[in-house]
């Protein structure tokens, strides 16, 4: 999957059921020079990505190529987690980095998301610095995968000062070497 070096053309699909959060994330992304599409639900997101038309996969992407998906976790109907799973289980979409946004600082939830293939987990309300960091990650990787620069201070449970659990260490904390990337793909 090709990433255009001109950051102005990076296209983010943001998913959130909250009016207010959609407005804010849209502005955050816009100000960071992303092209933004915002939808209100997981099913709308899948519609946009063309995942609901099984027979029409071929040229869906041409103008709409999505470089990053940012989704709220708690949504009625399809949760962000369920959306993540569907994307990662899709042969055509699995390489798109998916970032989860949530107000819950829960280590269990964070782990689950990362294990399912989320590139990052952002605590809401999302800040400009989060978006800047994401953008740097995507541009640096140049392969459609974010480098998983998860800030430990965001991910730590408030009362837990211990190091990160090893279940995350294996694929997110160090920049993937070509060998590691291959292993990651093979796992999917």
């Amino acid at each position: 999957m090709m990433i255009n070096d001109d950051c102005k053309t990076l296209h983010v699909l943001a998913v959130d059921d909250s009016n207010i959060d959609r407005k804010v994330i849209q502005r955050l992304l816009q100000i960071s020079s992303f092209k933004v599409t915002v939808v209100e639900s997981g099913s709308r997101a899948l519609q946009y990505l063309g995942l609901d038309h099984e027979d029409d996969n071929s040229n869906r992407f041409h103008d709409l190529k999505v470089n990053l998906i940012m989704t709220d976790y708690s949504m009625p109907g399809m949760t962000g987690f369920e959306l993540l799973k569907k994307i990662k289980n899709s042969s055509t979409l699995r390489e798109i980095p998916v970032v989860i946004m949530s107000s819950e600082n829960s280590l269990t939830r964070i782990d689950r998301c990362l294990e399912e293939g989320a590139e990052d987990y952002l605590l809401k309300p999302v800040k400009l610095s989060d978006v800047t960091r994401l953008k740097d990650s995507i541009l640096k990787s140049g392969s459609g995968e974010v480098n998983g620069n998860i800030q430990t201070n965001k991910r730590k449970h408030k009362s837990d000062q211990s190091p990160l659990p090893t279940s995350i260490d294996c694929h997110n904390l160090t920049p993937p070497s070509p060998q590691q990337s291959l292993e990651k793909r093979a796992r999917l």
Partner: protein
């Protein structure tokens, strides 16, 4: 800019500062201000207006849900979770604190606690609304300046 305008801007800055000092608003409000510029000069007010318009629905639903017997704590918690999220998105600090208290009472299945706290939620919500409306109106009257989007 004449002296009156300068005084108005100073007044607005002081009012803004008081919101933070008195705990009505938190860092998230500053984040919103940072998203405001000449291409989106009313962004903060737009978001706040959207919040008040949108969240009235949640408060109404919560009011209704609190009338039911027995109380459905799970539904109350779910409604409040969403409302709290929105409050958090505009930096409404005191409102958020009351929301958290409400959810604690939900978890403890404490009906009286929920009802009492909900009154606090509504009070903080309304107080902040009045303050922000007055603030934005003053900012508009004072004329364009980096008032509403000056970094701290």
């Amino acid at each position: 800019m004449d002296r009156n305008q300068m005084q108005m801007h100073r007044q607005i800055a002081n009012i803004r500062k008081s919101f933070f000092d008195q705990g009505y608003l938190d860092e998230q409000f500053v984040q919103l201000e940072e998203l405001q510029d000449s291409s989106n000069p009313n962004f903060v007010e737009e978001v706040v207006t959207l919040f008040y318009r949108d969240s009235a629905r949640f408060l109404y639903n919560l009011d209704q849900a609190l009338e039911k017997r027995p109380l459905d704590f799970s539904r109350l918690d779910s409604l409040m979770h969403q409302f709290k999220g929105s409050s958090s998105s505009i930096g409404a600090k005191k409102v958020k604190i009351e929301c958290t208290q409400f959810r604690d009472y939900c978890n403890a299945r404490n009906a009286e606690g929920c009802k009492r706290t909900f009154q606090h939620v509504k009070k903080e919500y309304t107080t902040l609304k009045k303050k922000l409306e007055a603030y934005f109106q003053m900012a508009r009257q004072a004329g364009p300046m980096e008032t509403a989007c000056r970094p701290r």
